[in-house]
Symmetry: C2
Subunit: 104 residues, 2 copies
DNA sequence: GTAAAACATAAGTGCGTGCTTATATATTGC
DNA sequence: GCAATATATAAGCACGCACTTATGTTTTAC
């Protein structure tokens, strides 16, 4: 749940792929597994890492578990990144545009 | 120089500490080493990882090498992070404030 | 030219990590 | 209750990685 856990969790491409899939909305473990080409336990282990890093939330529903992106789970990364804002020259404009869009 | 290299580079706390030190300005390897409690080759190896991830730049000057943060080196992280902007609720306001400050 | 300084590379080591198969736990449908 | 489904945990393995010591390379100072 600290900065180190989050960065470590994000270092693995399979875990980033899992997060990516959750952008569409919540999914259970079997759905997350599709196309990843790894075993069911592997998914379960990745999910455990993401959850203990505070990146995903889970909601049990019978024998299914629905996983979703945890709001503000990426906050540690975001906070870390803002310290380097002077080194983003080309990104700031994009960011401003983004925020204007969000205002509307 | 791609997303995976950058995330992998950032996963190590010592490497994040190295970047942190470069926020003050450029430093050579011996200066970077101070307080880290690791050997000179270890620093050299971390620097190599950061450089091949596009996160730091180097400028040779005699027998010294001055390392500095690479402008836009964190762009891959930033771009990745913007995809999750809907899950930053509490961060957006802070970000707006930050950009207002940068405008002045 | 020679020694020292700054950094890089090589080689080895131990531990972490991502995977597997096997098994356990819990829930549903019949 | 029993089989099937959904997920978690255990144990083992292979590889990656962060370190170390030893050595190489380049540059400066004398």
């Amino acid at each position: 749940m600290n900065e180190s856990d989050v960065f470590r969790a994000l270092a693995d491409p399979t875990r980033r792929a899992v997060l990516e899939r959750l952008l569409d909305g919540e999914k259970n473990a079997s759905e997350l597994r599709e196309g990843l080409g790894i075993s069911q336990p592997a998914v379960s282990q990745h999910v455990a890492v993401l959850r203990s890093a505070g990146l995903i939330a889970e909601k049990k529903s019978g024998r299914h578990v629905h996983y979703s992106l945890a709001p503000d789970g990426l906050a540690p990364v975001f906070d870390w990144l803002t310290r380097y804002r002077s080194f983003w020259p080309a990104r700031v404009d994009r960011l401003k545009t983004l925020l204007k869009e969000m205002d509307q």
